[in-house]
């Protein structure tokens, strides 16, 4: 009894919890063959965290998200959101969703679309109107709100999509590639919105290809490749934190030279030199002796990008191996 209780408590702490979530698509002659888009996903997103879902094209990110929202149905496995099974549609009042490459009724204006979608939530008319205006302002569409969506650009549609996703103050916000199609200003604004959601204690799950965004915003990321979850953790945790050495950026005036130059790479007037950590002071001394002006010294860390690339490379190699052995 006691155990059951504490288990229950744990469950409510999870915003999203998937168990062996699997989606197969039939293909080929008479749909006899099956291809798994998602294989046995076990993923937990805690309440209040920003969780980044990263993976190459076709990895299964959108598949996972669509499964969570009941747009498609799993071949096997189950999932819970806020402790409730995803089949319970009432729970959608606490969820906000931005579809991938969103497209909306093109005969409506942004304002009308938001009004239409907001009507499915239990808001009073006054509250609804106020929220719509606030959202339009937040996503920067105040001046375009009376224009039919058929005349909207890709990035503008993305903004409308974001507005409808957060309009009803949901506890869990699921965004499928929120940054795609946005200009640098727009991306910055979306980043701010995500951070604001986090400050308000919301849970955010978003998929992206832009690793720097994930690194910057996420408490944790999940890397998915080929339908399988390959790693979960804080961005700085899942990549190898060991320092990879130091990099010195310097300028060398006039004719002066130093043996180190042969190891440096030159861009314009500047040189970039990578040395192991234990040799850093020796290198600096040599450069000073040669009269170099040292511009910066930074520690080189493995980035999320390298980690990501390694996983993808490994997956490709494996796929190639399977193909060869299959022949």
């Amino acid at each position: 009894m006691r155990q059951a209780l504490s288990k229950n408590e744990n469950m409510t702490e999870l915003a999203i919890d998937t168990e062996n979530l699997t989606k197969e698509y039939p293909y080929g002659f008479l749909h006899l063959k099956k291809k798994a888009s998602l294989e046995g996903l076990n993923m937990q997103v805690e309440t209040g965290e920003v969780f980044g879902f990263i993976g190459p094209n076709g990895a299964g990110k959108s598949t996972t998200i669509k499964l969570l929202l009941r747009l498609i149905f799993p071949t096997a496995g189950s999932a819970r959101i806020l402790g409730k099974p995803i089949g319970d549609i009432d729970m959608h009042r606490d969820i906000g969703y931005l579809p991938e490459q969103p497209y909306f009724y093109d005969y409506l204006t942004a304002e009308e679309l938001l009004d239409y979608l907001a009507r499915f939530h239990d808001l009073t008319a006054a509250d609804r109107k106020a929220r719509i205006q606030r959202m339009l302002k937040k996503v920067g569409l105040e001046t375009a709100k009376k224009i039919q969506l058929r005349k909207y650009s890709k990035g503008m549609l993305q903004r409308v999509g974001l507005a409808q996703a957060i309009l009803h103050d949901p506890k869990v916000v699921i965004l499928d590639e929120p940054m795609s199609g946005l200009d640098p200003v727009g991306r910055r604004e979306v980043r701010d919105i995500i951070l604001e959601l986090k400050r308000d204690g919301k849970t955010v799950l978003f998929s992206t290809h832009i690793l720097s965004d994930a690194e910057m915003l996420c408490d944790r990321v999940g890397v998915i490749v080929g339908g399988k979850l390959r790693g979960v953790g804080a961005p700085e945790q899942i990549v190898d934190m060991k320092s990879q050495g130091m990099e010195i950026l310097f300028e060398l005036p006039g004719q002066s030279t130093t043996p180190l130059l042969s190891k440096a790479t030159r861009t314009g007037d500047r040189y970039r030199l990578q040395v192991p950590e234990e040799e850093i002071y020796g290198a600096i001394d040599q450069l000073r002796a040669a009269g170099a002006r040292i511009l910066s010294v930074v520690e080189m860390k493995a980035t999320l990008e390298e980690y990501f690339m390694n996983l993808v490379e490994a997956d490709r190699a494996q796929a190639a191996a399977v193909e060869v052995s299959g022949k």
Binding site: K66, L69, R70, L71, I72, F73, I89, D90, M91, H92, R93, I95, G96, Y97, L98, P99, Q101, P102, Y103, F104, Y105, Y107, L108, Y116, L117, R119, F120, H121, G161, Q164, A165
Partner: protein, 258 residues
């Protein structure tokens, strides 16, 4: 219920913005032509000409709208992925489906009512008098509307499990077949094997009977339609639509979006 109404009203708005109601202009032209024609031919048959032409036009225009927009109701939303954001709201798939159905049936109601009114005015203008039997025109228009609701339900059902083009073909095909259900029932049983006879009997009850909704001959001659027949047709349409829509909901609720 509220959510169904929200979807329905948006569907109606879409139809209006897509200029579906422009067909009324076309209908007005047909009615004018009919009035002129009626004036040219000998007296006494103005009513037949105007009513027959008018009701046929209402039926054909309504059928075109029902089949083409009916098939697109759900399939277009799946195709363009406008459905994604919507289904992420606290709305069930059956509510969405019924809302779409209701929206188009509402559009058709406004449409056929306007055309029926136009027809009635044209009739009044041609005859210059009014008899009780002239109200049959409204019953005929009501029956056409019931028939169209049934066609929309069928179009919706087919569009839930096949491509839009095939759904259009199936709906149109079933409509044509449904005009001859009575003939199927009346086939001489003697020439058939017992199995075949049983099969045609079942088939004739399974298929929608569209000819039942046709009271053009009565309306053309200003004769009244019995009240019991109105009740019977209404019930038939309600029951048949319910069955078709229930099947559509069952199919659509399991469907994976793209």
């Amino acid at each position: 219920m509220k959510r169904i109404a929200v979807v329905a009203l948006n569907t109606f708005r879409e139809a209006v913005r897509d200029r579906v109601l422009y067909n009324l202009v076309f209908f007005a032209l047909v009615m004018m032509a009919a009035s002129i024609l009626a004036g040219q031919i000998s007296i006494g048959i103005e009513q037949t000409v105007i009513v027959t032409l008018g009701l046929s036009a209402i039926s054909v225009i309504g059928l075109l709208i029902s089949v083409f927009i009916g098939v697109g109701l759900v399939s277009k939303e799946m195709d363009k992925r406008t459905l994604y954001a919507l289904l992420a709201k606290p709305v069930r798939r059956w509510e969405f489906l019924l809302g779409k159905f209701g929206g188009l049936v509402l559009t058709l109601a406004v449409n056929t009512a306007a055309m029926g009114m136009g027809l009635f005015l044209a009739l009044l203008y041609a005859k210059q008098t009014l008899e009780r039997g002239d109200a049959t025109v409204f019953v005929a228009v009501y029956f056409i509307w019931l028939k169209l609701a049934l066609v929309v339900a069928l179009a919706l059902l087919f569009s839930c499990f096949t491509t839009p083009l095939l759904a259009i073909l199936f709906t149109a095909g079933l409509y044509v077949v449904g005009l001859y259900v009575q003939e199927l029932r009346d086939l001489p049983k003697g020439v058939m094997s017992p199995g075949m006879a049983a099969f045609t009997k079942w088939l004739s009850y399974l298929l929608p009977n569209f000819e039942n909704f046709n009271v053009m001959a009565l309306a053309a001659h200003g004769r009244q339609v019995p009240g019991a027949f109105i009740v019977q047709n209404t019930l038939y349409a309600v029951v048949y639509c319910t069955l078709v829509l229930t099947t559509a909901v069952a199919v659509f609720s399991k469907r994976n979006l793209k």
